[in-house]
Amino acid sequence: MLVIGLIVYPISRAVWLSFTDKLVGYPERFVGLRNYLYLIDDDGFHAVVRNSLVFTVSSVALKIATGLAMALVLHATWRWRNFFRGLMLLPWITSTVIIALTWRWMFDAFPGRGFFNSVLLDAGLLSRPIAFMATPAGAMTAVVVANWWRGFPFFGVSYLAGMQAIPAELYEAAAVDGAPPWRRFWHVTLPGLKHVIIVTTLLTFIFTLNDFNIVYVMTRGGPGTATQVFATYSYEVAFNQLRWGRGVTISIFAVPLLAAAIALVSRYLLRDRTA
């Protein structure tokens, strides 16, 4: 009952607020679908949906690729393996705000401070600093990179655990049949990791779509509205404009997308299990 209460009450309250014109300090009034219709017509919100998808899909794709690479490297037998297993977890255990600030500094165009600019200027490859975060594409790249860096160890560790659960006999049998390493990866490792990949992707998709800290600290949604995503836009509308009803609606908009993803994956997993 407690668990149901903890889940059902906040969600139902949020859904209710999305049907009201709740302003901070005022009682809410039911307005039906007005908030939803407003957002459907709001060009700012259209950009938010686009930005959120670009941010989420790019980050998750990068995490999957690098997580797999990390797991493969750490799965192999070599001398400093345990040390590097610990080291690779560093981004995951570091505070998100610290990560965001660090990456902001790294992309900074302030002379003598931004890491990338300093390296490129010192190497003589640039004569003037590049303002990485001044363009929509550059700013989006910066927040995606920071989010990827923070999140890929989770994938790596999960995949590593998955790889360790794959029976060694399968690899031996494949080797006896003359399968080269990439075929073993394709036909043994990847199918063995299928469930782990699906679950980690789904979980991270949800976390990333709801991510606030990195974007807020690094760009505040700028330049202009180029990196404004669901969470930052929802915050701005709810806390700066004091329009709670509309702010909540922005977050609720992402729910059907997430619910569909969860339903699809659950169905897939259940089908696999019953087959």
């Binding site: 014109d21 300090g25 165009a109 001044a134 700028g222 202009g224 701005e236 404009q241 004091l242």
Partner: protein, 450 residues
Amino acid sequence: MRDARLTRRNFLAGAVGASAAFALPGVAAPAVKKGTSLRLWILKTYVEPTNKAIEAAAQRWAQKHGAAVTVEYFTFEDVQTKYVAAIENKNTPDIGQLETGAPARFAGMGQLLDLTSFARQVEGEVGRPPANVAPVTVIGGTTYAIPWYIMPAFWYVWRDVFEKNNVKLPSTFDEAKAAAAALNRPKDNFYGMGQSWNRTADGYGVMQSLMYSHGVGWATKDGKYQSIRTPKMQQVMKWATDIYKEGLQPADTLTWTGSGNNENFIAKNIAQTSNGPSITFAMENAVAKATDAKDRKAREEALANHLALPHPAGPDGRRMWAIAMSFGIFKTAKDPEAAMSLVAHLLSPEETVRVMNDSYGQFTPVLDKARAASKDYFSKNENYRTFGRAAEWFSATGWPGPVTAAAAEVQASNVLTDAPAKVIVDKWSNEQAVDWADKKIKEIYDTIGR
């Protein structure tokens, strides 16, 4: 919008308002109950000595009355979040420092006590604020907060750079832009200006100064919406976007946060920027922290060369948007009488001057007697003389009308700075951006006055 009935609390507030005002100097003050405990929320700025001075002033009152004051800080970053959370959780402080738009917003929500009678008493003892500052705290004829100081913005320039290049110090926005063009040396990573249209007061504040100085306001004198789709607003948008299009600023200017212009100015990457006196604070502090004689000389030269000019004027005059800080007392205050006594203590010229002396010029008192007492402080040098005149140019959010909840939301929605950003980043035309901003502003006025 507000409940017009005379509630018990309102009645009580009116009554205690009159009595608590007697806590002001020279008047027989009613005793504050021993053991009274108050929560005071104040703004934490970059200038740490100011924060400490306000806290110390509050503690002096507590000591005098055998009471307790818990000082809690908010910053520009979290001011909205903290107040919103407190209001929705019915956990507001007894007394809160309020920024420019807050009295109108919070009064509209019915959160603040009516301080009209208390304000009259304060006026009798400490004087009144200038006519351009007063409307920040008077909403619909009722006073909901007492103004204390304004935290202004000035036009910082490097005097030596201007002199070396024989460029006239700017007094208008057009002159500032012309000077930027004359001083711009991108090849040396030195730019003529650094003005970001970001989501901080350095962005929306300057945009308002630019608009008001060109005679553009989105509200009428009585606070109603009026269209900004005018030739004057086109002029404003042209200035705001040309400084980017013409390469007069570092390429990352739009991405600066609140400290970006401070850092770039102090590092001498830009010739001019709009900012509060926190730049002066940093430069005075830098001298104190010099490591050797050579370093000290360099820092002293830099301090002497940094010049705070009055904010540029436009074709319609010189109007500077600034943060006007006031004290409001929340209806949830457990002891409104004690709260007013504390506010009266903080507003006294003696305490005001003490805080101001630790403010490095960013605290410009607005009440008559405090202003008179601050004359010496503001005659320290050329920069301070300019700081001392800040109230003359002050224009509040929603000029030429009063500060209203709708006007405050226009500022908070970032529409004013998103409009030029749409031209600079998304390559919209100036006309498109003005039309877009006008539509958003109208929508705010259509929906906020419920």
